[in-house]
Symmetry: C2
Subunit: 407 residues, 2 copies
């Protein structure tokens, strides 16, 4: 029995189903290992000693590569002094200043732990500011896993979702209709910087949709909230909609902010500073200094090395390579989303049969990517790493052709 | 200007109000420093280099003392291998097994990050199991800071709290009445192991109240949830109501579980294993290996050194010392709650004038405790440390007598 299988067997006794949440390997397809023991740069090592070129980056958090020396040195130094104390460390101020300096929209910042903390806190601020209750969100968008937003209704109540009104991503008219249905009671419009729903091709935000949501929020006096938990720090260091020239009232950040260390943040405009002071939102570990030191080192490093450009370069090389391979093997594929946070699906593959087969074949070739969730690239992916990954994907396309034939 | 004042000035520009949440020093009283730079054992160092005997333990998380060597070694080793990966490490299984072994009620465990994550997740499991919506909670109990439970209504909506029905702590009849009002729709009864509301004397749970809640939950088919976020790992390693012989269906743990490293957990009974598998609850950092390694080292160390007995010894010495001092200075005080998580109030001090003055006087004497929130002791508090703290509290009582006169 493999080490992974043996760990799964033990886990099944002491955790419901053995595993849960987005890292549950049972959901990813055949052959995916559940347990990992190490990471270095853009490589990860599973419990049985198999190494992968990592195209998932732990579902987003790892943006500079695993065990980045500047980040780990900052964490080690902070842990050696003190981490969880009776108040924050000076690094709290330094990180807040750095974020306000880096994110043009930000006049202030509040830190927390989970992406869900940040989206929830952003809505609290919007509600405190407006005295209103309803939130407009795009149908199918993922904003976290609290009862108000988790994609599964199990364990949630109708009341917990009663304040949401849905619109359709990239359909401004649907957002206007949703606002009309709320009859003046809209506290916030929440939106992801691009459409990254699982199981579906991704969609970039149409510039006129982004500008239209901003205008709609202004017209009805609601806060525009960008949930940049997934996109943040890969598309633009100033917040993902800087690429479109549209600024929200509130940004929610997490994931890549500290290269894998646990922290989240909301940034806001000056008009929301007072309302933000009225909410009570906290957590036992929200002011721990080590993850703040990690975030400071991560953001400074991304800035100093132009991390976004490096990630974009890796993503472009991967996309072009995959496009050429798919064509040469006779497959029609859709590569969607920003190149830094890419996904590939096979045309007409509604059952995901081809996608699951291909992803598992990539895995056997030492390339870790995902059959129905977007991937993430990092600044640690060099041209050589992408070329090594493309060797694996090419072999996987060849196996797919043997199994399914060309399109 | 002190370093603390200068950091506060900078923080006020980039964080709403400069600080928020339970560590906001502005709420604690005059003289409290906001910023800390180090901790060692039961001592903390503020940004201006003043050292305190720490009777707050970072509001609970630090249970073995700051920078405990076994915990920090486990964290360092795990960080050196890998922390935030594409799946959990073997330590996930080892920690889950350790918790199931340590907590007699536990047949399984699910990990998360914040105490609020754990209480929220416990209610989701209870609702998934029962298909019901309502939750009975004690009026004034703190169960976290999500909109459903935060003590401030600002930024929350009526719908978000519509599923709560309140009862009175230690009043079984009130819980029965609350259940009756829910007309058969009770998913869970949530309760803290003792009453630890801020600004009030604490109350231990009456054994008949605890047994009565258990019987009530059984009779109406609801899950009994103990929110052991604050009490856990100080009163009993098997869950705080092991001291009363009452076992809940679900325990929520966090704070002291990993000696300051960010992790939370829900443990449950076998009957809830299936329902727990149906909820979708996750977070980007919930499976990070370093905090799990910290939790494993913390629980093993607490077990090996009989940490609860050490904390109880320190708490008893403190309580006896304070009682003698108060009497000798002519004050009538109430010392409430378990000795491990104590609080002291002055008889008739409804305005907290005496309590605030005394706490600030303790602070000036190098003893960090809190005027309106319970304190926390740790296994690092030796007799000598408590005696050193008592020197400070004695001086503070003397100042209080100069200012207010004896009772």
């Amino acid at each position: 029995m493999s080490i992974d299988a043996s760990l799964r067997e033990r886990a099944a006794r002491v955790v419901p189903g053995g595993m849960y949440g987005h890292l549950n390997a049972a959901l990813h397809g055949p052959g995916y290992p559940q347990f990992f023991v190490g990471g270095q740069g853009c490589r990860q090592l599973d419990a049985d000693g198999r190494e992968y070129i990592d195209l998932m980056c732990s579902w987003g958090p790892v943006v500079l590569g695993h065990r980045h020396p500047a980040v780990e040195a900052a964490v080690t130094a902070q842990l050696a002094a003190g981490d969880c104390l009776n108040g924050p460390g000076p690094v709290y101020v330094e990180l807040a200043e750095l974020m306000v300096e880096t994110v043009p929209q930000a006049d202030w910042v509040m830190f927390s732990k989970n992406g869900t903390d940040a989206t929830t806190q952003a809505l609290m601020v919007a509600r405190a500011a407006t005295g209103r209750t309803k939130v407009l969100m795009a149908h199918g968008s993922y904003h976290g896993a609290d009862p108000w937003c988790t994609p599964s209704p199990s364990g949630t109540t109708p009341s917990e979702r009663a304040d949401l009104i849905e619109y359709t991503y990239n359909d401004l008219a649907s957002a206007e209709e949703a606002a009309a249905r709320a009859e003046g009671d809209v506290a916030a419009i929440i939106v992801t910087p691009f459409k990254h729903d699982s199981f579906e091709d991704q969609e970039l935000a149409a510039p006129e949709f982004a500008r239209g949501l901003r205008a709609l929020a202004d017209r009805i006096g609601a806060a525009l909230v960008i949930d940049d938990v997934r996109g943040g720090w890969r598309l633009h260091l100033g917040g993902s909609w800087e690429t479109l020239g549209v600024r929200p009232d509130l940004y929610a950040f997490s994931k890549a902010m500290a290269n894998g260390h646990p922290i989240a943040a909301v940034t806001g405009v000056d008009a929301l500073r007072g309302p933000a002071q009225t909410i009570y939102s906290t957590g036992s570990f929200w002011f721990n200094a080590a993850p703040m030191a990690a975030a400071k080192a991560t953001i400074e490093t991304l800035r100093d090395i132009d991390g976004v450009a490096l990630i974009e370069r890796a993503g472009t090389r991967l996309r072009e390579g995959l496009a050429a391979q798919a064509a040469s093997h006779g497959f029609v594929v859709n590569q969607t989303g920003p190149v830094q946070i890419p996904w590939l699906s096979f045309e007409g593959d509604t059952t995901l049969d081809k996608g699951m087969f291909w992803a598992s074949a990539c895995l056997r070739e030492g390339v870790y990517l995902h059959p129905w969730h977007n991937w993430f690239l990092s600044a640690a992916h060099t041209d050589a790493d992408i070329d090594r990954a493309l060797l694996g994907t090419d072999a996987a396309f060849a196996r797919l052709r043997e199994e399914f034939g060309a399109d």
